[in-house]
Symmetry: C2
Subunit: 477 residues, 2 copies
């Protein structure tokens, strides 16, 4: 009964308290639970299944473009970690360090990987000898640990799950192309799987990754108007190659330093899905990433015709490749409706005796909660379109939300007013000095330099110096 | 050229030095490399792809039987780890402990999971309330850390990759059934995917898992006559449930302690595949787990008819779902033959102009190195049978090896002579006293109590007391 009660309680409304709504939803949709160590969460089956859906889709895209999976050690010797100066400065304050086995202290302290550039570089130094060995395009799926102070489920944890790609190339052009190709793959993952229109662009110098020449990012806009950096790709130039001595013999038998990239997306994408699509009834999952796409709920399941129709619909949908389940537990239909709405299952099919007499069932699409009567024999045939239309509608809605919440500011007052409303504000600034003032005054941060760098104003509205770059700002997670 | 040289060097012969042969093969087949921290290895793309093949196959079997994937934290608070007495005694000497972030020491030391019983139990305590919540059958894919002193690639590492299943049930019968069902799934994985005939049975009291009531094991027999424990399943009874207070309300509203199991296989399976099937030319991969099933090598690839035939064969095999690749690099055919034999690719197709004139190509099966001429138009159609016959032959060969190297001992002298030859020796013993003497005298350990417990002798040949159990012994990794 404890279970029943928990589900029937409504969650906090999004507009009343977005942060509380988010936490309520994570727990009540049974995506995660807290562990005994702050910042380390438990991915429950439903939450982990969403991650598996993301993994499968992205892994397929990466393999199709020539990337190979590997697995590097969990730990990095402290001396190795310190080899690339900028990199270690960026990560040193937030590492977990193994110092002992309990029986004896270690000769050298071992850092649990916060990211694995140093491990990949050490390996690449050994296996890259000739231009014939290039490119090397490796990826790994693993967890990493960063000792964050403030943590929130999926968004920022001391441990999180991710993929980290690390590639080595013979030329700058090829490495730069890889950095942008992966950005495209991430954007496509958003569009095709998560129904999220990511804004893409380059990070400012201030916001780029520790050790990178250039960092690119995919950014999603949450329902509360804050941005969420959802993935990054980095062009390293030859900086890591210098620090780790990654050289190859070119076609003219000359020794050359290699060019590198790295890139990653994490379980933070689950947070993005929640905050872009969710509503006051709970999670709304885009159909292609949903662990269960269709749930069938028999009404008056003691009736034989209801049981038979339920089984028939289930068998047909399953045979056609849809992820489908039946809930024939003895909970009330109303309780089940609320539960699967909380869990964001895209399609609910209610199989009741009265509908069946007319040869149809009731189909409810989660995202707009619309009810349709649908002929029993047409369910499977119509399902691809139902899911596709739902996916497209979710994407379109999210896209319109971005468009309706993106502004251009020509004065600093305008900028401040827009930032207060929430969303992206584009402004042309003089550089880091302006960026720092904006952060101090408004807490907004530079999200990306859009690829179209047309200037909005000649002078920077903040510093009144010459504007050199157009930046999209937002408050961000 | 460095690369070329490395591959052409032969590896140590199996019979000359099995341990060296193994290490040579792991490195030269590019399965792994050493990292800067002893006992932590790098899984290179080819080695990791074998693990991915195992994961996919087993994950499918587990999901088909109602198991769900989750992800638990990497770290366990020291106090939590110590909650189940037997369990902590078994693992305490071999843990890696996080004590500091570099900036400040942790209030409580965190143990990197050597296994996750304590984490699963803590979670189950929270989510199991009623018999309606049972069973819970969770699994996770992750890496674990155990501070082993002696390490060998894939066989024993400070870190290894595995899956760990943890289940909770309402009755002893159901939990015991799960323990044996998973043992069957592991045995089937061996038979269907790895072409390894695992010997299965129960572990002796001495060899069982820390905290288990009963442990079962799958054991593989290596080419050198030593056994390799390749996976285990544990029935926990209510011991962990007591320690962690995992209770549920039964159908009569009574509070009951739950029954639990856990089970796992690891990247050690890769070691088993190497040591069961490999030969002096290198790795021999069973076809269904091989990352590349067919490699096509064009001979005189400048000739247009060779290029066209190569492309045609590749396209057809790929369209039919086989894992196929082409090596049209400018290395010599002989070098390529040696390389793909080292890597254990099941089928090599040589596409040469002279063969093509006759309308056929040369197909070489790795495991027996037999050459066949095969009609160009029949390759794809015949490939399923070629792979199936190869798989069956590998399994049959390994099965005969087990049968030919399994003995029964009626005296301790017989036992010692058989153990010296290598393989399994079945003997009926009085109990742990005999087990300890045998280990001391011969280094052989109890592998399993076979399910058929017919006694071979009435008295134990070692202690001359009444024999109570028949045990299969072997020297083991």
């Amino acid at each position: 009964m404890k279970q029943n009660k928990k589900m029937v309680d409504a969650i906090t409304s999004r507009d009343a308290d977005f942060a509380q709504w988010y936490t309520d939803l994570c727990l009540k949709a049974e995506l995660m639970d807290y562990s005994d160590v702050k910042g380390f969460i438990i991915y429950r089956p439903y939450g982990y299944a969403i991650w598996e859906g993301i993994q499968q889709d992205l892994d397929r895209r990466l393999k199709a473009t020539g990337h190979q999976n590997v697995y590097m050690p969990l730990v990095i010797p402290e001396s190795l970690f310190q080899k690339e100066k900028d990199h270690v400065e960026g990560f040193a304050p937030e590492t977990a360090i193994v110092t002992t086995t309990g029986v004896e202290d270690l000769a050298e302290r071992l850092i649990i990987r916060p990211t694995s550039e140093t491990l990949f570089c050490t390996h690449y130094q050994k296996v890259v000898n000739s231009y014939r060995d290039l490119p090397k395009m490796y990826n790994q799926w693993c967890s990493v640990v960063r000792w964050e102070k403030t943590t929130r489920p999926f968004l920022r944890g001391k441990e999180f799950l991710w993929q980290e790609g690390h590639t080595v190339h013979a030329s700058e052009a090829e490495a730069r192309k890889e950095t942008l190709d992966i950005l495209d793959i991430y954007r496509d993952l958003g569009k095709d799987l998560l129904a999220i229109p990511f804004v893409t662009g380059k990070k400012t110098e201030k916001e780029k990754f520790a050790g990178a020449v250039d960092t690119y990012s995919i950014e999603a806009l949450m329902h509360d108007g804050q941005a969420l950096q959802s993935g990054t790709t980095h062009y390293f130039g030859q900086e890591f190659a210098k620090a780790f001595d990654i050289k190859f013999q070119d076609e003219n038998n000359q020794q050359q330093l290699a060019y590198q990239t790295s890139w990653g997306v994490s379980t933070r994408l689950i947070g993005a899905v929640i905050m872009v699509h969710g509503d006051d009834e709970g999670l709304v999952l885009p159909p292609y990433v949903a662990p269960t796409q269709v749930v069938i709920i028999p009404i008056q399941s003691q009736k034989i015709e209801v049981q038979q129709a339920t089984q028939k619909i289930f068998d047909e949908l399953k045979a056609a490749g849809f992820r489908v389940s039946v809930d024939d537990s003895n909970k009330s239909p109303g309780w089940k409706f609320a539960e699967y709405e909380m869990k964001g299952v895209p399609v609910r099919i209610e199989v009741g005796p009265r509908d069946l007499e007319q040869g149809h069932v009731t189909l409810v699409t989660r995202y707009n909660r619309e009810k349709h009567q649908i002929n029993l024999d047409e369910i499977t045939q119509k399902m691809p379109d139902i899911l596709k239309n739902m996916h497209d509608a979710l994407y379109q809605k999210a896209l319109e939300f971005v468009e309706n919440n993106t502004y251009q500011a020509k004065t600093y007052d305008e900028f401040k007013a827009y930032i207060k409303k929430g969303g992206y504000v584009a402004m042309s600034i003089s550089g880091e000095e302006a960026e720092l003032m904006i952060k101090k005054d408004t807490t907004a941060t530079a999200r990306v330099l859009p690829f179209d760098q047309t200037l909005i104003t000649e002078l920077c509205p903040v510093t009144h110096k010459v504007a050199t770059q157009t930046v999209w700002f937002a408050r961000a997670y």
